[in-house]
């Protein structure tokens, strides 16, 4: 019995383990075992029975040819030169992706905190909490604070970007054992509920973040005249904005961390933006090109409004506006190109 099992193991050693081949191997084993038992029942000796079973096994090349064909033979030869992703590489990649994703999230959060600090300072100056400090001076300190937050953030971006550079080859086609792919898929399916929960929390936070602003302006409009000496009430809509930014920072942090984890899976499993059709599509190239112009421009507008118009309290609005417009633009682009492809 053991002899048959070992024989089969040796024969299958050179065949990649996939659910398909494992199934066939299992079936073969039970088939051979049944044959063995029947031969023994017919009065054959142990050795004779094993001998017959093994002699009737056939040629493993026959099965290998069969699988060679089943794995979509036409592209097989082309793929030979593509790097092979092992399970170990894939898991390390996901690990590193999560690690550096967290750093990027921290960087973005730092920038948002910096912007918030700027708004805080000008609001405080306006309300007089900071005593004799003029609004202009407060804004200046705010900008300095913002820059102090941007520097480590940019450092984090560069660090994570260069650290992940070694995985750039994943941009190009790669080979993955079907078995490894299956393992990753299971892991991905385990991760999806967590991802969905994170997105729901993030979106809820974004919606909730509007409440402080609305509440703030309501209070400001209906403020009781004798309470107006309390600075927070006097400028409550500005404080609403500060609260909004704090909540949005938390939401963005969640989006980046989980979005980044999902991106890792998408890339390895070649889903969504990393699917072969998408990678070559015109729309993603257009979106990429437009993004590289629009976002720096937005930053310019942000600084222009701040420095030259002294409107630090309002200039941050350009980011959510651009974000929404850009989102709409890329959705339209993708939809159009998808329709073209269907036609």
């Amino acid at each position: 019995m053991e002899t048959i099992k070992n024989y089969l193991e040796t024969m299958f050693a050179q065949i990649p383990q996939t659910p398909e081949t494992l199934k066939i191997k299992e079936d073969l084993l039970s088939n051979m075992e049944e044959k063995y038992h029947e031969l023994k029942n017919e009065g054959k000796s142990e050795n004779e029975a094993i001998g017959i079973v093994i002699s009737e096994f056939g040629n493993i090349d026959e099965l290998m040819n069969e699988f060679g064909i089943s794995n979509n033979s036409t592209s097989q030869t082309q793929q030979k030169n593509h790097p092979i992703i092992t399970l170990e590489t894939a898991l390390t990649y996901l690990d590193e992706k999560n690690k550096f994703g967290r750093l990027i999230a921290i960087g973005v959060a730092l920038i948002l905190i910096g912007v918030n600090l700027l708004i805080c300072l000008s609001t405080f100056a306006e309300t007089g909490i900071l005593g004799s400090l003029s609004e202009d001076t407060a804004s200046m300190f705010g900008v300095i604070a913002l820059i102090c937050f941007i520097v480590p953030a940019v450092a984090l971006f560069i660090y994570s970007g260069t650290s992940l550079e070694k995985y750039n080859y994943l941009e190009n086609p790669f080979q993955m054992d079907p078995y490894v792919k299956e393992q990753l898929k299971t892991k991905f399916e385990d991760f999806l509920p967590t991802f969905n929960r994170a997105i729901i929390i993030g979106v809820s936070l974004c919606i909730l973040s509007v409440i402080p602003v609305i509440a703030g302006s309501l209070i400001e409009d209906n403020r009781i005249s004798n309470a107006s000496f309390i600075p927070i009430i006097k400028n409550s809509s500005s404080f609403g904005v500060i609260l909004l930014l704090i909540i949005v920072t938390v939401a963005v942090y969640i989006f980046i961390i989980y979005g980044n984890m999902k991106e890792g899976y998408n890339r390895l499993l070649e889903l969504e933006e990393y699917s072969p059709e998408h990678k070559n599509s015109k729309s993603s190239k257009i979106i990429g090109a437009v993004a590289s112009v629009v976002w720096p421009l937005t930053v310019c507008v942000f600084f222009y409004l701040g420095f030259f118009k002294q409107r630090w309290d309002i200039s941050w609005v350009v980011f959510p506006i651009t974000g929404i417009l850009f989102g709409a633009f890329s959705t339209i682009c993708n939809t159009l190109s998808r329709e073209n492809r269907i036609k």
């Binding site: 398909e20 199934k23 066939i24 299992e26 079936d27 073969l28 039970s30 088939n31 051979m32 049944e34 044959k35 029947e38 009737e56 096994f57 056939g58 040629n59 493993i60 026959e62 099965l63 040819n65 069969e66 699988f67 089943s70």
Partner: protein, 109 residues
């Protein structure tokens, strides 16, 4: 024992023939082949399973798990309507093949 290319080309046909009667599993099929040919022909394990794999891929057979209570569960195979069509084609092909080859066969002493 014979193992010619001709038989190899018809291993699918042999398996489909046996599945025409009733659903069956690997060992039963190979045993029946042996019995029907008076042990003159044994289908090798790898030939059998390559054929199962190929036939499933082409949609000529379906597989399902048996309901044995003891031991390992067997994989049963069932012929599909497409399988029956394919079997009929192979039968026609064989009749033609046989007709052709027979013209070149003579008894020699």
């Amino acid at each position: 024992m014979i193992s010619s290319d001709v038989i190899r080309g018809y291993s699918d046909t042999i398996i489909l023939y046996l599945l025409l009667e009733n659903d069956s599993y690997g060992y039963e099929i190979s045993k029946k082949i042996k019995e029907m040919t008076d042990e003159k022909f044994t289908m090798k394990e790898t030939t059998l399973y390559s054929a199962f794999n190929r036939l499933s891929k082409n949609g000529y057979i379906d597989s399902y798990h048996g309901t044995e209570t003891q031991g390992k569960r067997r994989t049963y195979y069932k012929i599909t309507p497409e399988g029956i069509t394919y079997y009929k084609e192979k039968c026609k092909e064989w009749i033609l093949t046989k007709e052709i080859i027979e013209k070149f066969i003579k008894e020699m002493n």
